[in-house]
């Protein structure tokens, strides 16, 4: 993890309705448990504990996934944002940070539910260079509605 204890970092959901700043990053992890899988619609959740978290725009909606844990998400676009263990700690989803590269996971949890195909993900083939270029042509014409990876004074901006 390339963060100091005192670093404050920003993040938020895809549509930008919810923005936060966080500090005191600890124990970056991926969790393979079936509850995390289902909550994020993926093979694992990538989470990091934060000591201080403040919502700088909007606030998440919550699903109480058990009597001890609630999970925060954006009601407008669905981005999973938090895993909050009652009376103990709050994790945020690493990829909702504006700079997710700073928080490399250091441990994996819930291995009993790890999907068998997880091991080979890094070795999967990708598009050919030609296909990638063709895709880039299509995507360069898309008007992107995602909030930028930095705080903004107002969103959506006037350009929308």
């Amino acid at each position: 993890m390339n963060l100091e204890e005192t670093d404050i970092k920003s993040g938020g959901c895809q549509c930008g309705a919810i923005r936060y700043c966080a500090e005191g990053f600890k124990r970056p992890s991926i969790c393979h448990c079936r509850m995390c899988q289902k909550a994020v619609g993926g093979p694992f959740a990538a989470l990091v504990v934060v000591e201080n978290l403040s919502w700088t725009r909007g606030e998440p909606a919550y699903f109480q996934s058990s009597n001890l844990v609630r999970r925060g998400f954006c009601r407008d676009c669905g981005t999973p944002l938090t895993y909050e263990f009652e009376g103990s700690h709050i994790d945020i989803t690493i990829a909702s940070l504006d700079q997710p590269d700073l928080v490399a996971p250091e441990i994996q949890l819930g291995l009993e539910n790890r999907l068998s195909w997880c091991d080979g993900l890094a070795a999967l083939p990708t598009r050919t260079a030609e296909a990638e270029a063709a895709a880039q042509d299509v995507f360069s014409g898309i008007r992107n509605h995602q909030h930028p990876d930095r705080d903004t004074d107002a969103w959506p901006g006037d350009a929308r």
Binding site: G41, S66, C74, T79, E106, I107, L124, P125
Partner: protein
């Protein structure tokens, strides 16, 4: 060969069934998929619209661009859908399937946006959740689990 697959969100408000053949299963590293899923990548598998039935509530949608709608459960947030408008295929979140192990991924896209650390995730050390000190907490969560079971109800 026609197969049946079921799945849905964490709380169970949105459920789906596919009767047909699944298309390409992939992970996408692009920054938009990362943000939509709050995760390293989006794991998606293609299905034909005509093979897909929403068997309970339908997803809510966010238009992440002019071309793409992303579906999710407005009650619990689970990301469920990546869909190009006016396209015969719909992408479904593999982790939302009741049996995600039946949907192995075969390709990865947009590696230029790959988050550092991805390549070594599988080699990380395991955690302490099997330690006896966690047994009571795990038991309490198991006993009060509000997640929809991995089958239709």
């Amino acid at each position: 060969m026609t197969e049946t697959y079921t799945g849905g969100c964490q709380c169970g408000a949105v459920r789906f069934r596919i009767e047909g053949t699944l298309g390409e299963a992939s992970i996408c590293h692009c920054r938009m998929c990362q943000k939509a899923f709050g995760n390293f990548f989006a794991p998606l598998v293609d299905a034909r619209h005509e093979d897909l039935t929403w068997t309970r509530e339908r997803p809510s949608y966010y238009a992440s661009s002019d071309l793409v709608d992303r579906g999710f459960c407005s009650r619990c947030g689970t990301p469920l859908v990546f869909a190009y408008r006016d396209y015969p295929l719909i992408g479904l979140a593999i982790g939302a399937f009741d049996e995600p192990g039946r949907v192995p991924v075969t390709k990865q896209h947009w590696k230029r946006d790959k988050i550092s650390g991805f390549d070594t995730l599988h080699a990380l050390p395991g955690g302490p959740e099997d330690d006896p000190e966690f047994a009571d907490v795990i038991a309490e969560i198991d006993a009060s689990n509000h997640q929809h079971p991995d089958h239709d109800t």
